[in-house]
């Protein structure tokens, strides 16, 4: 590529006063809609740095990312990428080669039907000679650990693998900087870890500058610098430690802090003398140990406390038993599954057992979490609950009736067991939100007025007021769309609500809002809720019973405390325990007298305080 006006600069990225206005023009060419997405952003990135950009959905971080690749140009201000001014069109291809970009959706950025050909796409566009393309493709695929899969079809890869291919596709263009725009938002925890590990390795070994946009706080702790954005502005910048010291402020910007940091923060609130911004379990452990360096002196006190503790212990056991009995008794049986099997494409070469001898009972008013890695059969299982899938063998009873018996009203079952699919907002189709929410009730055969009344009630209960009724569902924000879609199911007034990863892709605040919504639905309407999730923390915080699936079988079915004790087994099937459980386990191994089966931050806080005798 020909050399054009390239300035020599210390920084690989240098932007001053960057502003960007999204404008929509009507037929006469007048602006009928304008929104400031970036507002006076200054950005300086040195070569080789690992920068993380945090911000809630719609904070302007994706707009900023697109500026770095000259996919969008600043309305005001200047931006130099590798010394090239992005506003100068003759620099365009140089900039795109210098700053590669990885997007959120793994499917939508893979162009070719074979892995290696996709990685070769960038170099092909750059006009690299054929032999050199092959060298680059091999190197790039090896650097992300995907060389073995080079001749596979992208459709056969997991989400994490697809994103690694996308990263390789960028690496093959030999960029100085990679911009990753929420590369992990659509992945399961295993895939997320894969991608983040790969990115860190590239940063370390190849010295590639990384700009990672995310709303998973845990992915950010190893960054050199964190930038927090809100309303198109940079509101905070600093090291992860500095940033995560400001728990309250982050919450104000709809963000969050890592679990360890949160635990430390909570302990500090309770008067423990801990430093701000603790980022790793080791750090917390060390601090707690020094705190209780007086522990040796505490020993006598501890002896005194022992009796009190023993009493405490029994109380806790009793408490747990109560919780358990709460789920089992005093409630009527709602769904019973007996020896259910499901085989995909029976009799063909693609035959695969998706569910293998599943038996379980669900009671009225339970709040259940189903966890399992991608492909463990959890989605297949929940689609049996409303009869969308028909079991190959076995029985499924709803309120005591066999749904596979002759003449069972299968369609009526759909209204009793409301199923919210993953990314339910993708199923919105009506011209306004109210009509869309009415779709279910109308299919139920309700009259216009009844359907409207139901729809309005459902919209209120998900927190969408009257002003949303006439809006197009496509004009809502991500979180609002999701709530509108959930309202569409709630309006059918189901007895059981099943949700497949309802928080996927939402920012921390959006995630909490949805989960709190479920909690209140459960408490106020006494709906049975079945929550499929990848997040152990979400499950631990909200549900009272966990079903763990692996390879079409039920591995565990118990209260969270008893499920998460099996850390090793969970890890061997690609899952994990909540992060606090690990922290408590580490404390215990460090001879702290704490209960390691703790699964939520609040429990952990209380346990540590108790162990410290406070």
């Amino acid at each position: 590529m020909k050399k054009t006006a390239q300035k020599t600069m210390k920084n690989i990225i240098e932007g001053h006063g960057l502003s960007f206005l999204y404008q929509h023009f009507d037929e006469d060419g007048k602006v009928d809609f304008a929104q400031t997405a970036l507002d006076g952003v200054d950005l300086e990135v040195e070569p080789g740095q690992f920068i993380a950009i945090l911000g809630h959905n719609g904070s302007g971080k994706s707009t900023l990312a697109r500026q770095l690749n000259a996919l969008l140009l600043p309305s005001e201000g200047t931006l130099y990428v590798d010394g090239y001014d992005t506003r100068d069109e003759s620099n365009l291809w140089n900039i795109r080669q210098s700053a590669g970009m990885v997007f959120q959706n793994p499917d939508n950025q893979i162009i070719a039907s074979v892995v290696e050909e996709d990685v070769g796409f960038g170099p092909e566009n750059m006009g690299i000679p054929t032999e050199d393309i092959w060298v680059r493709v091999e190197k790039a695929l090896r650097s992300v650990g995907m060389w073995k899969m080079r001749s596979s079809s992208p459709n056969r890869l997991s989400g994490g693998q697809k994103q690694r291919v996308a990263i390789a596709g960028v690496i093959a263009m030999k960029p100085k900087c990679i911009v990753l725009d929420e590369p992990t938002a659509m992945l399961d925890p295993g895939g997320r870890a894969e991608v983040i590990r790969t990115v860190h390795e590239l940063n370390r070994t190849e010295g590639v500058t990384v700009i990672l946009i995310t709303h998973y706080m845990e992915e950010v702790v190893d960054a050199d610098r964190v930038i927090v954005m809100d309303q198109g502005k940079v509101v905070l910048t600093g090291t992860p430690k500095e940033i995560f010291s400001q728990v309250e402020l982050l919450r104000k910007h709809r963000l969050d802090v890592p679990q360890v940091t949160l635990l430390a923060y909570e302990l500090k609130q309770k008067g423990l003398d801990l430093p701000d911004g603790i980022l790793s379990p080791e750090e917390l452990l060390q601090n707690l140990d020094t705190l209780c360096g007086q522990r040796k002196q505490c020993d006598t006190e501890t002896a005194l406390q022992d009796t009190a503790q023993a009493a405490d212990e029994t109380a806790r056991v009793v408490h747990k038993e109560l919780r358990k009995s709460h789920t089992d008794e005093g409630r009527t049986e709602q769904i019973r599954i007996e020896h259910l099997n499901y085989i995909y494409d029976p009799g063909t070469a693609y035959e695969r057992t998706a569910l293998d001898d599943i038996s379980l009972t669900i009671h009225n008013g339970e709040f259940i979490g189903i966890i399992g890695h991608t492909g463990s059969g959890k989605s297949t299982l929940i689609q049996h609950l409303n009869g969308l899938n028909r079991a190959s063998s076995g029985r499924l009873l709803f309120s005591g009736e066999d749904i596979y018996s002759e003449g069972y009203p299968m369609r009526a079952l759909r209204f009793k067991v409301g199923l919210v699919f993953q990314y339910p907002e993708h199923q919105l189709f009506e011209s306004d939100v109210l009509k869309d929410v009415c779709f279910g009730p109308k299919n139920q055969g309700l009259s216009e007025e009844e359907a409207l009344a139901r729809a309005r009630e459902a919209m209120r209960s998900v927190g969408l007021d009257e002003s949303f009724e006439k809006k197009s569902p496509f004009d809502l924000s991500g979180g609002q769309k999701r709530r509108a879609a959930i309202a569409g199911i709630l309006a059918m007034d189901p007895e059981v609500l099943v949700l497949d990863e309802p928080t996927a892709g939402l920012d921390p605040k959006g995630r909490d809002e949805i989960l709190d919504l479920l909690k209140s639905l459960h408490e106020e309407r006494n709906i049975t809720i079945i929550l499929v999730s990848h997040s152990m923390e979400d499950v631990a915080n909200y549900v009272s019973r966990i079903i763990v699936m692996d390879e079409g079988r039920i591995l565990y079915d118990d209260v969270p405390e008893k499920v998460f004790i099996h850390v090793k087994e969970l890890e061997s099937v690609g899952l994990a325990a909540p992060r606090v459980t690990y922290i408590m386990d580490a404390l215990r191994r460090d001879s702290w007298d704490v209960d390691a089966s703790v699964t939520t931050i609040a429990q952990a806080r209380d346990e540590i305080l108790r162990a410290l005798g406070r």
Binding site: E124, N155, F439, N443
Partner: protein, 276 residues
């Protein structure tokens, strides 16, 4: 339903036929079909059968797999055959009720059946042994001459390969959306044609929205990776002729010659009474 269609499917393998240059295979298929129609005679069908048998054996694609592709057009073939059989004028050889079968009709039917079957089988072998990508590459290079008359050959080929990549994704998506709407009580199966068409709205709107979103994402991703049309682009897997490809071309020429000779000079007749 869609799984039954083998045309356009790829059967992974490593045979000599798989390895041939896609341009050779495209040309070969064209030659095979043209000769089949231009030089149709009993002798040339025998020759075509032998050629087809050799190619199928070499390709190591199971015959049953190839024949499955015929199922999809079986109805079409039966209708064509019936029309030919009953509606061709000529020497009547037998007669039911108002229908009569003529010698010419019978001859025509047999010819047509041979041609259609061989056309499908012949093109199936090409698609079964060539990846969609190779196929588009072959078309792109093979049709490069049309660039001169301003046919955007590269762009069309790029669109074809993107379409091929996204068909399975959109099929999955359709299934997912249908299920999600069924979970809301949508009924795609019952009712008259108007009700059925109306019922499709909740599926089609999200599908189109999703397709546009994907198209938008993909366009961004392609731009971000420096795509700016066919100009100045190099190829990772350029098509290069090997010895086997040249040999294939020679075989093709010989095949055409043999077909011509058989059709022109070898007068084999179908054993149908009354046929001149």
């Amino acid at each position: 339903m869609l799984k039954d269609i083998t045309i356009g499917q790829y059967y992974p393998g490593n045979s000599i036929i798989h390895k041939l240059d896609p341009r050779v295979k495209l040309m070969g298929t064209l030659v095979f079909i043209v000769t089949l129609f231009a030089f149709g005679s009993v002798g040339s069908y025998i020759c075509a059968t032998i050629a087809l048998a050799i190619v199928i054996t070499l390709s190591r694609v199971p015959l049953s797999f190839i024949l499955r592709g015929l199922k999809a057009i079986f109805v079409l073939m039966v209708i064509t055959a019936l029309f030919n059989l009953f509606l061709t004028p000529g020497t009547v050889i037998c007669r039911f009720w108002v229908l009569k079968i003529t010698a010419e009709g019978l001859r025509m039917t047999i010819h047509m059946a041979f041609r259609l079957t061989y056309l499908i089988v012949g093109s199936s072998i090409m698609t079964l042994t060539t990846t969609p990508n190779q196929l588009t590459d072959g078309l792109e290079t093979g049709l490069r001459a049309f660039n001169k008359i301003h046919v955007p050959v590269h762009e069309v080929a790029m669109m074809m390969s993107i379409a091929l990549r996204f068909i399975p994704i959109l099929m999955d998506e359709t299934d997912k959306i249908m299920r999600a709407q069924e979970a809301r009580g949508a009924d795609f199966a019952s009712g008259g044609i108007i009700k059925k068409a109306k019922a499709l709205v909740p599926m089609l709107v999200p599908l189109f929205v999703s397709a546009f979103r994907r198209a938008n994402d993909l366009a961004l991703a392609m731009e971000a990776r420096g795509y700016h049309g066919g100009a100045g682009r190099t190829k990772m897997k350029p098509l290069i002729y090997h010895r086997r490809d040249y040999v294939s071309y020679v075989i093709m020429i010989v095949y055409v010659a043999v077909m011509f000779v058989l059709w022109r000079y070898v007068k084999l007749q179908l054993p149908i009474p009354g046929l001149k």
